[in-house]
C-alpha cells in the first residue's frame, strides 16, 4: 500500500479519526518517516538545482566523497566546489532556519498562550534589525564584514530580549502572557523605529539592503556559520521536548498545570529563554524570515493534534522541508534575480494553512 496515497485519503475523508489531528495517531511514525525521506530528497534536489544544474547522483557523489574524506570524487572540481562550498551550506542553512523558527513558533505560542503569536512577537527581529541595519549602513566605516553583520544582529537581538524580559518582569511575579506580548509588541515598534531612523540617516542603497535583509535570505550561507545555529537548535529542541508535557499541561490552564505538579513560572522562563536564544540565532544568520514560525506549528497541529512532543518533532521536520523548497523557489523563480524568502513563505504558507483549516473545520466543527 502506498502510504502517501493513504494519508491523502485520510486527509480528505470526512470521517472522524481517533486522534485530535487530521491524521490518526498511529500514523505519526509514518509521517515522521515520510518527512525525513522527503526532506533528504528535497535537500539533494535543492543542491542540484540552480544556475548550473547538477544531477542528483553527482550531488550524492560529492557529499559521499567529502564525508569519507577522499580527495577525488570523480566529479569536476568546479562542480564539486559549487555543490560543497555554495549550495550545500545554503540548503542546510535553509533547513536549520525552517526547523528553528517552526520550533520557536510552537514554544512561543505555548509561552504567551496565543495562537497568533510568532517567533517575532517578543520583538527579537526588530532588535536584530538594529544591529543588522547599523552594520549594513555604516559597516564599511566600521570595517565589519558578513560575520560582523550576523554578530551585530545577534548582539542587538539578545539585548532587546533582555530588555523585554526585565520590563515584563517588573511589578513582580512570573512572566504574565499578556504582559509579555504587550511588552514584546511595544518593544518591537520602538526598535523598528530606531532601525528606520538609522536607515533614514544612511544612503538609499543601504536602505534597500536593509529591506532585503529583513525579508530574509540564505545567500550568505557558509559552512562556518552553520555550526552555532545547529548546536543551539539541537539544545533548544531537546530542552523543549523535555518540557513537552508541561506545555501540554499549560493547554489545560495555568492553574490546572500547577495541580499536575508543573512548575508553571519556571516553565515560562525556560520557554522565554529558549525562544529568545533560538530566534536571535536564526535571525542573525538569515534575516527575519516571516510566517514560517506562525504557520508551520498550526499546519502540524492540524495534522497531528496538539500534544507538544509530536508537534515539536513534526514541526522541526516540516519546517526544514518547507524552507528548503521555499529557498529553492526563491533562487529559481525569478532567476537570476533572487526573491526574498519571506515573501514566498507567506505566499505559499498562507493558502496552505487556510486550506487545511477548512478541512479541519468541516471535520470537527469550529475549533477556535
Amino acid at each position: 500500500m502506498n502510504p502517501t496515497a493513504s494519508v491523502g485519503r485520510r486527509l480528505f475523508s470526512p470521517l472522524r479519526s481517533p486522534s485530535a489531528g487530521l491524521l490518526p495517531s498511529a500514523w505519526f511514525g509514518a509521517l515522521m518517516l515520510v518527512l525525513i525521506v522527503f526532506g533528504v530528497a528535497s535537500m539533494v534536489v535543492g543542491v542540484g538545482i540552480g544556475s548550473v544544474r547538477v544531477p542528483a547522483m553527482t550531488v550524492v557523489d560529492v557529499v559521499w566523497a567529502k564525508a569519507l574524506g577522499s580527495a577525488d570524487s570523480g566529479v569536476a572540481s568546479n562542480l564539486s566546489q559549487i555543490v560543497w562550498e555554495l549550495r550545500l551550506p545554503r540548503v542546510i542553512l535553509a533547513a536549520l532556519v525552517g526547523a528553528g523558527l517552526s520550533v520557536v513558533g510552537v514554544a512561543v505560542q505555548a509561552l504567551v498562550r496565543n495562537p497568533i503569536a510568532d517567533p517575532y512577537v517578543l520583538g527579537v527581529s526588530s532588535g536584530a534589525s538594529i544591529g543588522a541595519a547599523a552594520v549594513i549602513v555604516y559597516g564599511s566605516a566600521l570595517g565589519l564584514g558578513a560575520l560582523g553583520l550576523s554578530g551585530a544582529a545577534f548582539a542587538t537581538a539578545c539585548t532587546s530580549m533582555a530588555l523585554v524580559y526585565v520590563v515584563a518582569r517588573r511589578g513582580g511575579g512570573g512572566l504574565n502572557p499578556l504582559r509579555l506580548v504587550l511588552t514584546g509588541v511595544v518593544a518591537g515598534y520602538v526598535l523598528s523605529a530606531l532601525t528606520s531612523y538609522l536607515v533614514f540617516l544612511g544612503d538609499p542603497r543601504g536602505a534597500q539592503q536593509v529591506l532585503f535583509w529583513l525579508l530574509g535570505s540564505f545567500g550568505r550561507a557558509r559552512w562556518s556559520m552553520l555550526t552555532f545555529p545547529a548546536i543551539v537548535l539541537v539544545i533548544v529542541l531537546v530542552w523543549l521536548i523535555a518540557r513537552a508535557r508541561a506545555m501540554d499541561a499549560l493547554l489545560a490552564g495555568d492553574e490546572a498545570a500547577v495541580t499536575f505538579g508543573v512548575p508553571v513560572a519556571r516553565v515560562r522562563l525556560e520557554l522565554f529563554a529558549a525562544t529568545a536564544a533560538l530566534t536571535a540565532v536564526m535571525v542573525a544568520v538569515s534575516g527575519a524570515v516571516g510566517f514560517v514560525g506562525l504557520v508551520v506549528p498550526h499546519i502540524v497541529r492540524l495534522l497531528v493534534g496538539e500534544l507538544h512532543r509530536r508537534v515539536l518533532l513534526a514541526s522541526t521536520l516540516f519546517g526544514a522541508v518547507f524552507m528548503v523548497w521555499v529557498d529553492l523557489a526563491a533562487r529559481t523563480l525569478a532567476s537570476p534575480q533572487e526573491i526574498p524568502v519571506g515573501i514566498l513563505t507567506a505566499i505559499v504558507g498562507g493558502p496552505l494553512f487556510l486550506f487545511l483549516m477548512s478541512r479541519k473545520d468541516r471535520r470537527v466543527g469550529e475549533l477556535r
Binding site: 481517533p18 486522534s19 485530535a20 489531528g21 495517531s25 521536548i241 523535555a242 518540557r243 508535557r245 508541561a246 501540554d248 499541561a249 493547554l251 489545560a252 490552564g253 492553574e255 490546572a256 500547577v258 495541580t259 499536575f260 505538579g261 508543573v262 512548575p263 497541529r301 493534534g305 496538539e306 500534544l307 470537527v364 466543527g365 475549533l367 477556535r368
Partner: protein, 282 residues
C-alpha cells in the same frame, strides 16, 4: 485502605490583592470524609481551596495533607496526593479525551520518558470509573458540558491521589448530571472537599458541611445541624426549612425568599396563581 488521609488547615491567612481575605482559618477534613464547603459569593471558598491546592501561597498558617505540611512536599509528590477539579475548564483544545485524561499522569512521568503502560491503564480505568470509556477517542471540543465535567473528574482520578478537591463541580450541569457526578464522587472512597452552591446537593452527598462567610468558618458539622435557618438566613438572606422527602425520607431543604413570611404555620394559599406570575415572564 491506604487511600484515606485527611486534610488539615491550621490558622490560615491569605492575602489576595492586598486584602486579607482569610485570617486565621482552621478546618479539618477527616480521612475518607466527603465535606461540602458552602458560603455566599466572595466568602473565600475558592480562595481557600486554591490555597489548599497550592495555587495561592498562604501569608500565614499551614495546610497539611495526611499530617504532612503541604509546603514541604515536592510539586510532583503533592500532585500524586491531591487532585483538583477546578471551575476553569479549557475551552478549545484539540486534544483527544484520552490525551486530556493523560495530563493527570504528568506527576508520574519523567521529562523524557514515554507514556508507560501503567499510565495508559490508569487513564483507561479513570475513564471507566466515570462511565466515560466510550468517550476515549472523541476530541475535547466535541464533548457536551456534562461529558467534559466527567472527563475532568477522570483526569483528577488518573492522578491516583488520596484527596480530591472540587470547586463547584456541578456548575453548568443539568439536574441529572449534578446528581450523577456527586453520586460518583461519593462512591470513590477518597477524602473529598467540595465547594457547593446547592444546599440540597450538599445535604444529600456530604458527610459534613463547613459554612464559610467573610473568610471565616461560621459553622461546621452534619448537614442537618449546620444548614439550618439560624446559620443560613444571616448569610444568604433566605430562609430555610427542613422537610423529609415524601418518598425517600431523606432530608430536603426548602428555601424561601426573605420577604415571604417565615412562619412555620403559614399555609400554601399564598402561592400566586400562574396568571398572576405571567407578566414577569419575558
Amino acid at each position: 485502605m491506604t487511600r484515606t488521609v485527611g486534610v488539615e488547615v491550621h490558622d490560615l491567612a491569605l492575602e489576595v490583592g492586598g486584602r486579607m481575605l482569610i485570617d486565621g482559618l482552621s478546618i479539618d477534613v477527616g480521612p475518607g470524609r466527603v465535606v461540602g464547603l458552602v458560603g455566599p459569593n466572595g466568602s473565600g471558598k475558592s480562595s481557600l481551596l486554591r490555597a489548599i491546592y497550592r495555587v495561592l501561597r498562604p501569608a500565614r498558617g499551614q495546610v497539611s495533607v495526611g499530617r504532612v505540611p503541604a509546603a514541604s512536599m515536592s510539586a510532583k509528590a503533592f500532585a500524586r496526593t491531591l487532585a483538583v477539579v477546578a471551575q476553569e475548564t479549557p475551552v478549545d483544545v484539540a486534544l483527544s479525551v484520552t490525551d486530556m485524561v493523560m495530563l493527570g499522569r504528568i506527576p508520574y512521568q519523567g521529562a523524557l520518558s514515554g507514556t508507560s503502560s501503567a499510565d495508559r491503564a490508569a487513564a483507561a480505568a479513570a475513564l471507566a470509573t466515570v462511565d466515560a470509556a466510550d468517550l476515549a477517542d472523541r476530541t475535547w471540543p466535541t464533548l457536551s458540558g456534562g461529558e467534559k465535567q466527567r472527563v475532568l473528574l477522570a483526569r483528577a482520578l488518573a492522578q491516583d491521589g488520596q484527596v480530591l478537591v472540587l470547586d463547584e463541580p456541578t456548575n453548568h450541569l443539568d439536574v441529572r448530571h449534578q446528581f450523577d457526578l456527586l453520586r460518583l464522587v461519593r462512591g470513590l472512597e477518597v477524602t473529598t472537599l467540595a465547594a457547593l452552591h446547592d444546599f440540597n446537593l450538599a445535604a444529600e452527598f456530604c458527610d459534613d458541611v463547613i459554612v464559610l462567610a467573610a473568610g471565616a468558618v461560621v459553622a461546621a458539622g452534619r448537614p442537618s445541624e449546620v444548614l439550618v435557618d439560624e446559620v443560613v438566613h444571616p448569610l444568604f438572606g433566605v430562609h430555610v426549612d427542613h422537610v423529609r422527602h415524601p418518598r425517600t425520607g431523606a432530608l430536603r431543604l426548602l428555601l424561601s425568599a426573605p420577604d415571604d413570611t417565615h412562619d412555620s404555620t403559614a399555609v400554601a394559599g399564598d402561592i400566586p396563581s400562574l396568571t398572576e406570575t405571567k407578566e414577569y415572564c419575558p
